[in-house]
Symmetry: C2
Subunit: 357 residues, 2 copies
């Protein structure tokens, strides 16, 4: 199936919309949240667990999978879907973000980025062409081009240089992707620009000027206040074509997602629900709550009485607290199920609210 | 339902038998293997995972559950079954074995054993009456009386003293249990005697002389060679009443179980399948094999092509090796599913072999 984005309904109150992404591995309802399967596994979750909580698409990290087990092995396994036993869509990032945050001794040039693996010290060179080749070996449904993501806060000159390099690479990537005859795999363009309004505008215009089937907004949710993120997002979604899907990369908390949907973002991914679970924190409409607290010692109610997940249907706060303190792996799994299911229900509610207008 | 053991078929070739244990939480087919849920969780496995691999009964460790979360909390939760969300039978040990292997500063007297918790240094005193009270708070289907388990090797004088104390405590426990009017919960007698033939005979005769609905054989699989274990077991099963179930505690590897079934043992429990899984080792008819090996790097076949478990049906050795090295929790879970399923299929095969004679 060729990639296609179909908008079913636009909100009258905001820039929110409900739609469907058509991908080679099936249809995805947007706005959508992607659980993050960094190394070929959404932490503690088997594919059937992901199906059960209602995941429609997951994200894989090119940086991690490139270093281990490597694109050759994944290709030999029949692609990432087959290797990890997940038959629904997969979006992969370009690896750029992780190179800037995890790798050692990285060296950036106009050609790409050289770095040393954080795992075994091997040397690698990411280029616009190489990251597409890697993601083609994975067989990703949605791919990202190499971009340069700056830290927060970032000096304006540096942010400008990064966005301009991102534009150059985006053009190269689009050309390269076109030459591969791989239209079934969608390549998105990535907008950068730090937290500078004029730079976000410049980047959005430059990237929107390249014909991509979808667009990603990078470099947000990296430490800036929420209102600043929303401000940047609003500038960008005003410029990006309305009929293409928009992925707000690495975002976020439920309130970030709720606000960003209203500003026209369609796709989200974030490690927050899985990471918090592994630290003993569950998410509900009340916010983030640690199961470790003494007040839950004899609390025999579910962690979230409004939730339909396996964890909430079968286990009490007292039990989850006990197995968390007893360092049982099951605690991390059961909390992950709940947190991801909470995110899936959040997305469903956001879609339903728009449809009900 | 009152506890009952029903033998459906006796082997003509050995002392093996196929039977059914009737318990308050349902019927269990014997010979049976109990996954170990030390702290109220079979490591990495949810109750539905246990149901799926075919677990019919699990074991809980009184020592661990006594220290954390404690019998009062479990009782307030509605019992151990409800607390951990497992509605099939649970067998609990007495805690004695762990006191001897894990606790600090233990002091043994004829009244019981004083010890200091390995978790928080709190002081506890286990007596024949207290361990029954604790297991009654759990609501265990099969309970064990306090016994004294000696190390291997053990000086004969010490082994004799331990078995005699075990007999005294068994009598006290049986009397105490009778006074509790808790016939629906079965209390088993435990045979000790180290690796001394005459002591095993003495213990089996003394314990068989007390009317228990089932018997356990303790103090084996603690380091002695397999042939020595089988020798001790044969002596004991020749003496224990033939119409009562026999639990060979803490055993073992598949070959231990296969041999012990032929010598008349009906119930087994062991941490081997779950512990090996967490160390990256899977079990098959070929033995114990580490998934970490380089030869599995590009091996896209299942870990055990003869196995019907979720892991073998969906994942390759290459994938399991990758996620194990990547330190993904999912690796531990998927290997545990396979190893436990292997044990369940082993027990099924042993039952079928006897039935087919």
């Amino acid at each position: 199936m060729t990639f296609k984005f179909e908008i079913s309904k636009k909100s009258k109150k905001s820039k929110a919309r409900v739609g469907k992404l058509h991908t080679p591995h099936g249809i995805v309802n947007t706005p959508v949240f992607l659980p993050v399967g960094t190394q070929g596994s959404v932490k503690t979750m088997s594919p059937r667990d992901l199906n059960e909580i209602g995941a429609e698409m997951i994200l894989g990290n090119t940086y991690h999978l490139l270093l281990r087990p490597g694109p050759d092995l994944i290709k030999e396994a029949g692609g990432l879907h087959k290797f990890i036993s997940w038959d629904k869509p997969i979006l992969t990032d370009s690896g750029g973000f992780q190179v800037f945050s995890l790798a050692h001794l990285r060296k950036l040039t106009d050609e790409g980025v050289k770095f040393t693996s954080h795992i075994d010290g091997t040397k690698h060179f990411l280029t616009p062409a190489s990251v597409l080749e890697t993601q083609a070996a994975f067989g990703s449904d949605i791919m990202m081009p190499l971009d340069e993501c700056v830290a927060y806060p970032c000096d304006k000159k540096e942010a400008k240089k990064a966005l301009e390099r991102t534009t150059v690479w985006a053009k190269e990537s689009n050309k390269e992707h076109g030459a591969q005859n791989a239209e079934h795999r969608a390549l998105f363009g990535i907008v950068q620009g730090g937290t500078y309004k004029d730079l976000r505008k410049q980047s959005a215009e430059e990237i929107a000027g390249i014909d991509f089937p979808g667009y990603a907004i990078g470099g947000l949710s990296v430490g800036e206040p929420q209102n600043e993120m929303f401000e940047m997002l609003a500038i960008v979604t005003n410029i990006l074509p309305d009929d293409k899907p928009r992925h707000l990369m690495g975002v976020g908390f439920p309130s970030d997602i709720t606000g960003a949907v209203k500003l026209g973002a369609d796709i989200f991914d974030c490690v927050i629900p899985t990471r918090l679970a592994r630290h003993g924190t569950f998410i509900s409409d009340e916010g983030k709550i640690s199961i470790r607290q003494a007040r839950f010692e004899k609390d025999f109610s579910p962690i979230d009485p409004t939730c339909d997940c396996y964890t909430c249907q079968n286990f009490s706060r007292a039990y989850l607290r006990h197995i968390f303190w007893a360092r049982e792996i099951l605690a991390l799994h059961l909390l992950t199920i709940h947190n991801l299911r909470y995110y899936m229900r959040l997305m469903q509610r956001l879609r339903e609210e728009i449809l009900a207008e």
